[in-house]
Each structure stands twice: as structure tokens, then as C-alpha cells.
Amino acid sequence: MTDVIATIAFWVFAISAVVGALGVVAARRVFHNALFLVVALGSTAAIYVLLSADFLAAVQILVYVGAIVILMLFAIMLTPQAVELPSFAPGGQQFAGSLVALALFGLMVGAIVTGPWALAARPLDQPTSYDLGRGLLTTFVFPFELASLVLLVGMIGAILLARED
């Protein structure tokens, strides 16, 4: 029974993620790009839930939507632009970009389809926050400290760069 729901849910959120992504790329006004980004990130969070990564979904919402997108909105507000500027690069570059994107996509799909994945039946819907928490402070303690350092540096850097002295 839950399989059906899971499949439906997957397709719903997958499509919304792709639509969001395309929206980010295709929307003309920058503000709309941001909103489509929210849609894309939100549906990705939902996908995480499907992949039984609930803690990650919550973090995704909290960090991405809560902080990064709003930060981008602030950036958009702080850099007023004449709206009518073309939002897309000239034809040549567009073609080149699409060429690379499609080529890469083709290759990825090729690799995914032919990849010899060693599938394993993993328990579904296990609460992960306990294991993640434990993992963070045991095997991944060094990256954890390093991440904190990166964030600190990022914070100080951002303040210094954006400060209007």
C-alpha cells in the first residue's frame, strides 16, 4: 500500500523539483527565479523524506529555504537592476551551454543505466537523527570541526566583503 503512495509522492515531488529547476533557469524576473528555487529545494526536501533521510529534509528546509534563499532575496533587493535587461546570454552561448548540459546529462544517464549498482535492502523510514548525531561526533568529528571553521570564515568574510566602510 505505501509503495503506491511512495511512487505517487516521488513522481509528484520529482516533477515539482524539475519544474522548480526549470523555473529558476527560465523565469525572466529575478524574484521569480528565487521563488522557483524555493519550490525546487522544497520538493528536494520531500524527496529526502522519501529516501528516509528525515533529519536531512528538515535541515534542508531550515538551511536552504530558511537562510540561503532569503539571503538571495536580500541580495536581489540590494542590487536593483533595470528589469528589461536580457536575462539570457546571446544565442551562441546559450547553444554552447545547452550542448554541454545535454552532453553531460546523456553521459550521466548512460552511466546510471549501465552502472553495476550493488543494491542492498536497507530498512526504510528509520529515524536517522540519532545515528547522524552519533556519526557526527565519532567518525566525522574532524569534518564537523572543519565545517564549523568554514562557516566561521564564511561569516567573517561575508561581513568584511559586504560591509560598506
Binding site: 528538515a58 531550515l62 529555504v65 532569503i70 532575496l73
Partner: protein, 400 residues
């Protein structure tokens, strides 16, 4: 004394009964989603009803504080006043500003309201009466708490009005600033309870409520409740939509039903913050005599009254004071609180120390806290030279 299970577990019983009926009559794949839908429907109507009571309560109490009667015309003690308001808003004309960014304008109220409703799915009304017993409950709630910020920015931007944009940006800045202390103030409770799921936290407060934790409890509650108020743009922190400042802030251009949605979202959030505070610090459905959900609602409404009380008494904070409070006072205190919580957790004082003793300690701590705060405040003000927080000082004097 065992209260009849039916009464004790009313909501759970009804839910189980309903599910049984559906499974009997409907095909399997349809039954479960239907039950879920019914659950959602019940929640939404429940929220609507709760909000109406909140509105009525707030208007009555504020009136009392301001030495006036409050609504008493519509129905006995004016209890149907909020219904009248809703009807008025429903019938009002729905205007979309000409140059407004149409889609964003329309979506803004939804983006604000929907997450608020989603939070109710997690609140632990009773030991078995939570729609979704999420393992990452509190984190889920905090994550959803960020969506209103987005909604407010969208509203501010889309209504193509300088003041709304300004109001929206101010609100966003305020929300972001207070989100950090709010999230961090929850940490001590998660530490003490050992789990992030709200049901788990409530269960962990069987004997002693976390408010009784020596220093961590009251300090934690104060921080969380203040940050919560700021998140809701209420009372002392309602600068962005303050009428006297920028003409009702970001939702100025909204009217009719859309404004009602904003209004609904605001009160739903207040309820959820109060419920959270109750769950985290006052043991949620923990209570000796009455059934779990009764205690839950009593505590929530009491906290809501505190909010109304704060609204009635405290003057509005200036913007720099608002920001200063968040980053210079709340954030450091929460960090200190987390450390203290670790100490309390390790020393296991909560298990062997009688609840009453904890209460006495807490009272002393609170009393000392205020005086210490007063002294520290005066020193800081003299050093900085600039009036750091006259407002709070006044409030503190009032509290005396």
C-alpha cells in the same frame, strides 16, 4: 485514579473509530488517504475555531488591561465578535494592486499560512493524540517557522509599494535575527529530553517539568518565549506592522480574504508558539488530575494570555534596540544556556532532586537574575554611552 479511558483519550478514540469504519467499507488503497484527509480537515476546522477564540480572548483581555469592556455586543460577552469579523473580511472586496507582481501577490498569504497549519500536525495534544509523531518533530517545526519570513518578503515585494517593501524587509530581518536564538534556545530542552520528537519531550517531563531545571529552565523559557514573540511580530516586537510606523507594514495592500489569511496565519502561529512553549517547558499534556489534552490546552491558553499581557503592557521596541536585543543579549545567553544544560544533564540533578526544591531554587535564581540584569544593564549603558535599551529598563522598572 483512572479516568475513564474514553474521556482521557477522546481524540485518539474517535480517530481509531473513524479509521475502522473506513477500512470496513472502502478498498484498501483508498481508505488510508481518506482517513488522512479527514484528519487534515478536522485539524483545519479546529485551528479556525481556536483562532477565533484567541481573537476574542485577546480583544477582551486587552480591553480589560486598558480599562474598557471589550466586545460584548455580538452574543453573550461578545463571543461571536470574531465570527462577525471573519464574515466581514470574507465579504470585503479583494483588491490586487495594478502593478503588483500578480502571482507572487496571490501566493504570499498561502506561503505564510500553510506552514503554520502544517505545524499543528506535530503538536502533542495528548500522549496518543498527535497526527504525526515525527522523530525530528521540533526541528520540523522550526524549519517550517522559516516559511512565514519568505511569505512576508513576497508580500512586501509583490505589492509594488515602497512602504510594504520596507516593512517586508524589516520584518524579514527581524525574523531572521530572532530565528537563531529561537533555534538555539530549543537545544537545552532537546539535550535534557534526549530526543527531538515533541511527544518524546512531553513524555520525558513525567515527573519534573523542564521549567524546573535549575537555571536552564526559566532562562531557557524566557529566551524561547521572547524569541517566539519576535518571530510572531507581536507585542513589543511588532515594529514592521505597527500602524504608527509604516502604515500596517507588509500586508497593507491586502484586503478581504487575503488579509484574513494573514490574520489567521498570525494567530495560528501564536497558538503553535504557545503550545510549543507549553510542551517544551511545562510538560505539555503532563498533569495529575485532568486528562492530557485538557492540561495541554490550559497551559497553551495561559501562555497565550501572557502574550496578550505583554502586548497590553510593554511599549514597542525601537528597531536598533530590537536588533541589539537579538544579537547582543539573546544569542549569548542561549549559548550560555546550552552549556549550563549540558552541566545539568550530566549532573542528573533532575532525577534525584525533589521537584519542590527545584521550584525554590528557580524562584531564587529568577530573583537574582533580575537584579544582576539590572546592574549589568546600567554598567553597559554607562560604558557604551548610548542608551542601549531604555525601553526594557522601563519595562523592568514596571515589573519591579
Amino acid at each position: 485514579m483512572q479516568i475513564p479511558s474514553l474521556l482521557n483519550d477522546l481524540i485518539g478514540q474517535i480517530g481509531g473509530l473513524l479509521q475502522a469504519i473506513f477500512e470496513a467499507f472502502l478498498p484498501d488503497w483508498l481508505a488510508v488517504p481518506l482517513v488522512v484527509l479527514v484528519g487534515i480537515g478536522v485539524t483545519v476546522t479546529f485551528v479556525a475555531v481556536v483562532v477565533m477564540t484567541q481573537v476574542w480572548a485577546e480583544r477582551k483581555v486587552i480591553a480589560r488591561i486598558q480599562d474598557r469592556v471589550g466586545p460584548n455586543r455580538v452574543g453573550p460577552w461578545g463571543i461571536f465578535q470574531s465570527v462577525a469579523d471573519v464574515l466581514k473580511l470574507l465579504t470585503k472586496e479583494d483588491i490586487v494592486p495594478a502593478k503588483a507582481d500578480r502571482w507572487v501577490f496571490v501566493l504570499a498569504p498561502l506561503v505564510t499560512l500553510v506552514p503554520s497549519l502544517m505545524i499543528f500536525a506535530v503538536l502533542p495534544f495528548n500522549w496518543d493524540a498527535t497526527i504525526a509523531r515525527l522523530d525530528v518533530g521540533i526541528l520540523y517545526v522550526l524549519a517550517l517557522a522559516t516559511f512565514p519570513t519568505l511569505g512576508i518578503i513576497m508580500a512586501g515585494w509583490a505589492s509594488y509599494n515602497n512602504y510594504t517593501l520596507l516593512g517586508g524587509m524589516r520584518a524579514a530581518a527581524q525574523l531572521i535575527s530572532y530565528e537563531v536564538p529561537e533555534v538555539l534556545s530549543v537545544l537545552p530542552i532537546v539535550l535534557l529530553a534526549g530526543t527531538m520528537s515533541l511527544w518524546g519531550i512531553s513524555a520525558a517531563q513525567e515527573g519534573t517539568w523542564f521549567i524546573l531545571a535549575p537555571i536552564v529552565g526559566p532562562l531557557g523559557f524566557a529566551l524561547f518565549f521572547t524569541a517566539g514573540l519576535a518571530e510572531l511580530n507581536r507585542s513589543p516586537f511588532d515594529l514592521p506592522e505597527a500602524e504608527s510606523e509604516i502604515i500596517a507594514g507588509f500586508h497593507m495592500e491586502y484586503s478581504g480574504m487575503r488579509f484574513a489569511l494573514f490574520f489567521l496565519a498570525e494567530y495560528a502561529n501564536s497558538f503553535s508558539v504557545s503550545a510549543l512553549a507549553a510542551t517544551l517547558f511545562f510538560g505539555g499534556w503532563q498533569g495529575w488530575l485532568l486528562p492530557g489534552y485538557v492540561w495541554f490546552f490550559v497551559k497553551t491558553y495561559l501562555l497565550f494570555l501572557v502574550m496578550i499581557w505583554a502586548r497590553g503592557t510593554l511599549p514597542r521596541l525601537r528597531y536598533d534596540q530590537l536588533m541589539g536585543l537579538a544579537w547582543k543579549i539573546l544569542l549569548p545567553l542561549t549559548l550560555v544556556n546550552v552549556v549550563l544544560a549540558a552541566l545539568v544533564k550530566e549532573s542528573r540533578i533532575m532525577e534525584w532532586f525533589p521537584a519542590v526544591g527545584l521550584l525554590v531554587i528557580n524562584v531564587i535564581v529568577v530573583f537574582l537574575g533580575f537584579h544582576l540584569y539590572n546592574f549589568a544593564f546600567r554598567v553597559v549603558r554607562r560604558n557604551a554611552g548610548a542608551p542601549l535599551l531604555e525601553g526594557t529598563q522601563a519595562a523592568q522598572a514596571a515589573r519591579g
